[in-house]
């Protein structure tokens, strides 16, 4: 019952956040200069052509009316039609999802698969040579922002191997392995600094756990180091790193925007920039809505997971959201 109440409260927060976010989008749109019709038709359009387009798209209605109409539709699942592409916003978003989601998942996998072994190696013997090397390595990685990394890698690859074909994107439906191949390098660029961050936290947490009582007791009972590590330390450490991981995940979603630009991938980032440049209100509102939804859901999920695992978190002001 208490859990249900907890979940219910969070849902209300989710709803309110989405409302505020969509309102902010509406406010932003009302303030920024720029006329959708002129952008679509260009500077050589005549006044008649412009007003014809405006009435066709409903642009002559006041902004607030358009916003309310859109909002009504949004909460029933219809995010409206894009002005520029004359297509439902939802299908435009779902078309690009494979790129953004694919990269996020790949990045997350890389983060987990690389930072865990690194952290275990380091945490096993703190202060050792391997620990220090890995730590320094982690620090350097941290300073390499995905944007810079992508450009450096592309430059290096083209210098070493000739032209590196960025921008060759294949849909997962036509060639799944080709699709993965295209996303591999960009995901790696995004993942690298996150690996460093996760590694740092995980290592610190492992070291702390190692010094705790129950570990000493288990050891004195004869349990091997390895089994202690995997059965007790890691799970406990993971709990405290979950918040970091959820931060990482939402960062990944945001970080993919610029990497998409550099690697020329048709993901949500490009669509967002296009929506802004073309003053495409339904598309922009739809995308912001969607992005906000994902971010909030991620935090929500992270909090639920840690609340379920660790009862202490539940009482402490509902965690970090």
């Amino acid at each position: 019952m208490e859990q249900a109440k907890y979940i219910g409260k969070r849902l209300v927060e989710l709803f309110l956040t989405l409302l505020v976010v969509s309102f902010l989008t509406f406010a932003a749109f009302s303030i920024i200069p720029g006329d959708t019709a002129s952008v679509m038709l260009g500077p050589n359009a005549t006044a008649e052509q412009l007003s014809a387009l405006r009435s066709q798209l409903g642009l002559d209605l006041p902004m607030s009316v358009r916003y309310l109409e859109w909002l009504k539709g949004a909460f029933t699942g219809d995010l409206g039609n894009s002005y520029a592409y004359s297509q439902p916003v939802i299908s435009l978003i779902t078309d690009r999802l494979p790129v953004t989601i694919g990269m996020s998942i790949l990045s997350l996998l890389m983060v987990l698969l690389i930072s865990y072994p690194m952290a275990i190696l380091s945490g096993r013997r703190p202060g050792s040579l391997s620990d220090n090397t890995l730590s320094v390595f982690g620090h350097v990685l941290f300073a390499l922002p995905p944007f810079v990394l992508s450009m450096l890698i592309i430059t290096l690859a083209s210098a070493a191997f000739g032209i590196y074909s960025v921008g060759r994107y294949v849909k997962p439906s036509s060639d799944f392995f080709g699709y993965l191949g295209c996303l591999l390098l960009p995901s790696f660029c995004i993942a690298l600094p996150k690996i460093a961050m996760t590694f740092k936290f995980l290592r610190a947490s492992i070291i702390e756990e190692k010094a705790s009582d129950y570990v000493r007791t288990s050891k004195s009972h004869g349990l091997s180091d390895v089994s202690i590590m995997f059965r007790h330390i890691l799970p406990n450490s993971t709990v405290s790193t979950i918040t970091v991981i959820s931060l990482v995940l939402s960062d990944i979603l945001g970080g993919s925007l610029i990497v998409e630009q550099v690697f020329n991938l048709p993901g949500l980032g490009r669509l967002l920039l296009a929506a802004i440049s073309r003053r495409d209100f339904p598309l922009l509102s739809g995308m912001v809505f969607y992005l906000a939804l994902i971010t909030v859901l991620l935090y929500f999920a992270a909090d639920i997971v840690s609340a379920l695992i660790d009862p202490r978190m539940r009482n402490n002001r509902e965690g970090t959201l």
Partner: protein, 275 residues
């Protein structure tokens, strides 16, 4: 144990400072105009030259000396990141501290606004700020501050919640000490270990975000440059003129690394933990 910690701290500080020294040297050069070539003078005859003894870092697509521009860029990169972080920090403090301390409706309300801003695409926020106030550097910095304020607010809030169960805080509350005093004198100093990494991450992210803004023409305005802008501009020439990317990227990394090492050193000496 303690000695090795001290040693570590000292090493980190040394590394951090030497890295930052590189940037500071660049900064000083840009202030004193110790250039062979002026960073803004275009030269139609000298386009896209690779590094040579004449142009140490080569020239860009407008014939400008890349070395001089890198020096110049340090000015704006430092300016943008520090001012931006400062604004984000102040805003974050104003939001996060009361949220964490008072809890209840204040907390809920502030967090709602803060989260919404966080979910909002930063570029759009920046566009609005620039649209309303004009595309000057000043406004760019404000936009950056706004975008990053929620992150700081969140760090504060978590930190304050973590501390509020500590005894000395509870004592102070019972004694009805002025909340402002409590927040400034007791809570704030103890949050420094958490705040420093956030500041460093903020500085790095700010530089990146500013370069993202450059794609839309919202960041540092030409002919000035920041490392982020130089990278954004160099994107079309990635394969043709790699020196346009390598040098600004290198300097950017040095900058962030230097800050990072310093913040680690600070954290080690403050926190006193084995981490």
């Amino acid at each position: 144990m303690r000695t090795s910690l001290q040693k570590k701290t000292r090493i980190y500080m040394a590394v951090g400072f030497s890295l930052l020294a590189v940037i500071l040297v660049a900064f000083v050069i840009s202030l004193t105009h110790l250039y062979v070539y002026d960073p803004n003078s275009t030269n139609a005859a000298a386009k896209l030259l690779p590094p040579s003894s004449d142009h140490l870092f080569g020239t860009d697509n407008l014939g400008r000396d890349v070395f001089a521009r890198c020096m110049e860029a340090s000015k704006y990169t430092l300016l943008v990141s520090f001012c931006g972080v400062f604004i984000a920090f102040v805003l974050g403090t104003l939001l996060g501290m009361p949220a964490g301390y008072f809890g209840g409706i204040t907390d809920k309300f502030i967090m709602l606004i803060s989260n919404s801003v966080m979910c909002f695409p930063g570029i759009l926020l920046a566009l609005v700020a620039v649209a309303v106030f004009g595309p000057s550097l000043f406004n760019v910095v404000w936009a950056l501050g706004l975008v990053f304020a929620p992150t700081f607010a969140r760090v504060y809030r978590t930190g304050v919640i973590g501390l509020s169960s500590k005894e000395y805080i509870l004592h102070a509350k019972v004694l009805k000490v002025n909340p402002m005093r409590i927040m400034l004198l007791h809570i704030f100093p103890n949050l420094v270990p958490q705040l420093l990494p956030a500041v460093v991450i903020g500085l790095a992210n700010m530089t990146l975000f500013e370069s993202g803004m450059s794609y839309l023409g919202l960041g540092v305005q030409p002919p000035h440059a920041s490392y982020g802008k130089m990278l954004a501009d160099a994107q079309s020439y990635m394969t043709m003129a790699p020196w346009l990317i390598v040098f600004p990227a290198l300097l950017l990394v040095i900058y962030v690394l230097g800050l990072y090492f310093l913040s680690e050193a600070a954290r080690l000496s403050f926190g006193g933990e084995r981490r």
